[in-house]
Amino acid sequence: MAGVASGPELPAFLQNYELDGAHDEMFDRTGQVRPHYQHLYDALLELPAEELRRRQQIADLSFLHQGITFTVYGRDEGTERIFPNDLLPRILTGEEWSKIESGLVQRITALNLFLKDLYHEARILNDGIVPRELIYSCKHFRRQMRGFHVRRDAYVTVAGTDLIRTPSGEFVVLEDNLRVPSGVSYMLVSRQVMKRIFPELFRKCSVQAIEHYAQALLATLRSLAPQGCAEPSIALLTPGVYNSAYFEHAFLARQMGIELVEGRDLVVHDNFVYTRTTAGLRRVDVIYRRIDDDFIDPIAFRSDSSLGVPGIFNAYRAGNVSLANALGTGVADDKAVYAYVPKIIRYYLGEDPILNNVETFQMSNATERAHVLGDLEKFVVKAVGESGGYGMLVGPQSTASQRKEFCRRVEADPRNYIAQPTIHLSRAPCIAEGAIQPRHVDLRPYILFGGEKVTIVPGGLTRVALRKGSLVVNSSQGGGSKDTWVLHG
């Protein structure tokens, strides 16, 4: 294992920084600091460990006072945890970002065309590009959305696409999140905190701004107003205080200046949606809904849901209320369908994908299944409809009994699983165990799609697998985050 080479004297904080086969964000293969990390490196040289510790404490307090907490499913009430945030920024060059951005624009455009097609003529299925049974066996494909005209054909208004960097330094798409992606509030708050903690460094680096996210989201939601509605009333629909992402719902509603509502605040009458206020019923035109399709309407979907609004689906189909994201987008972020996205891009846009996928094996395919199950320690196996890192097996870090269990699950329900070779995610310097240590990271940019316009704030949330060697970055599984700095030029 090579260490970091940085001249005649190795600074204390880098004494145990070991490079391995993964791409390191800060150091190249020979151990030299990458040019865009130079300012950070210099700052760390001058910063005594005590000062770094002090700034970390200030940052943590700042998060605490703002109440930025995260609840992990399965925990009891009263144990809200402060979201773990690492102080060292993850830095990207403007050029790296440009390519990512154009790749994301291409991808979201293609996915929206795909969704529109699936819920109308389904030409892509008729032409045999994507297998018909794959779509119709997907539990997130909503037959109720067939033939329905979605305002501006914007099915996915907010997308969170997870990118990872391979050992060659190339950014590839790991997965798309097209239903209710979360985490943008952590991105915005950690930027605020970073500007307080490292103001000189921030200025020196010349970082592209991200603060306009809330305005951009509001503008995007406005553009979805139903026909003939000039001044739409917009609300954010949350499952409520017990939801793990509630902080984000409240934060975004506040930043955009819109009402935060729960299902029980809304009532549907004559196919219009209203909020119950003390001054009577107030009509709602656009809803940024952070409730899953399954729970949003007990009449149209799961009847045991107490979080939803009875009749909202009818109001939606009548065109009287717009929902962002549209219902039924889950069919496009199904991990088995993900494998077809390069073909989807070529089919609708006639272009090669700018961002590549990770090689993916369909467990529903007998040959591919045999290939994977025969060598399970080398693969990452994922359930197709899950998120948050649940329902996943990381082969190289699993026990024999875990692999046996997964084998059983895959054989029992092959359509529900895909497998990918274990990618050595890139690593970035983090403050860990009192020193600076590399940890695996990914990148989740947030893409806003309003029908014609695509807006992506530079960077996104960098998620960190805080445990040494861990490849699982999801916050629900104990991951943390970093501020992402995309430099100008």
Binding site: G240, L260, V261, R276, T277, T278, A279, G280
Partner: protein, 307 residues
């Protein structure tokens, strides 16, 4: 504002007032028990529970600990504070951070309270904590619609609590052959009213005057009349803020209760029967609550659209 939010603020306030009142009443009783003979504890504690509107029948030795700590009884101080905080949590965005922090402090103090620790100190700290919360609310929250719902909840709860307390006390002690000054002072102290009463009337303990003070006094904050006035004022302000045209019913019912108290004469009330008078007041309180609910919180859709 959202109906649900108004509801949460209203109930946060009611539960806190209830917790504070319970703490004070219990504190006074524990003090009075030192003055009385040990044999009468059962009777007095049972009466105290009745005056608090508590249904549970605990044996004398368990009354104090249960009234403080019971998690199964909705009337216990712990339950009140927990419920107040739960409601506050639902509307965290609408209250100030200082309010939330104080309520949280109170919550943690109540959860942490050692069952063996000094009870009187603990009860005193609950009252203080509640007072602090009210002061923080007045200073740090905009006196808009949300704040008015908090006031409405507080004074409605107070009106009900004091009516019940006075009613039960009078049934037990009024017209007794021998006046027990200690019991009547206890009643006043249960409403933080003893010193104010003395300033108004001198320290001579006169049940008629005590009734007058606690029921009809216009300027003492714990009197029923004061509570009814404050309640009506808040409800009027709420109705003026919104463009809800169905508020006249709420105002009429609250106004009627105000008038019952504004034009009452204690000598007439006493000869007709204080109990039945207070029953009327209590019934009017419930009618106000019901009207508030139907107008602002839980109205049928058709009614709202027709307006």
């Amino acid at each position: 504002m959202l109906s649900r939010a108004a509801d949460s603020l209203f109930w946060m306030s009611r539960y806190l007032e209830r917790g504070e009142h319970t703490a004070r009443v219990l504190n006074v009783q524990l003090y009075l028990m030192l003055e009385r003979g040990p044999g009468s504890d059962d009777r007095h504690l049972a009466r105290m529970l009745k005056s608090l509107g508590v249904e549970s029948a605990w044996p004398a030795a368990e009354v104090a600990p249960s009234l403080i700590h019971s998690t199964t009884s909705a009337s216990s101080i712990v339950s009140c504070i927990v419920s107040a905080r739960e409601n506050a949590r639902q509307v965290r965005e609408l209250i100030s951070s200082e309010m939330w922090e104080q309520l949280n402090r109170l919550f943690h103090a109540v959860k942490r309270a050692d069952q063996a620790a000094d009870v009187r100190d603990f009860l005193h700290s609950i009252q203080e904590g509640a007072h602090l919360f009210q002061g923080i609310t007045d200073s740090t929250m905009t006196h808009g619609e949300g704040w008015q719902f908090i006031q409405a909840g507080r004074y409605l709860e107070r009106a009900i609590a004091v009516s019940t307390l006075v009613s039960v006390h009078f049934r037990e002690f009024y017209g007794a052959a021998e006046l027990e000054p200690v019991e009547w002072i206890g009643l006043l102290q249960s409403c933080t009213a003893f010193e104010a009463y003395c300033k108004a009337y001198t320290a001579e303990i006169s049940p008629d005057r005590i009734a007058e003070f606690l029921v009809l006094n216009a300027v003492f904050p714990h009197s029923i009349r004061f509570s009814a006035d404050a309640l009506a004022t808040s409800l009027k302000t709420i109705s003026q803020e919104g463009s809800n045209r169905r508020t006249s019913r709420v105002e009429r019912i609250a106004g009627r209760m105000q008038a019952t108290l504004a034009f009452g004469q204690m000598d007439e009330i006493l000869s007709a029967g204080l109990q039945s008078y207070l029953d009327t007041v209590r019934r009017q309180c419930l009618q106000v609550y019901s009207a508030v609910y139907q107008t602002y919180i839980n109205y049928p859709v058709e009614a709202a659209l027709g307006a």
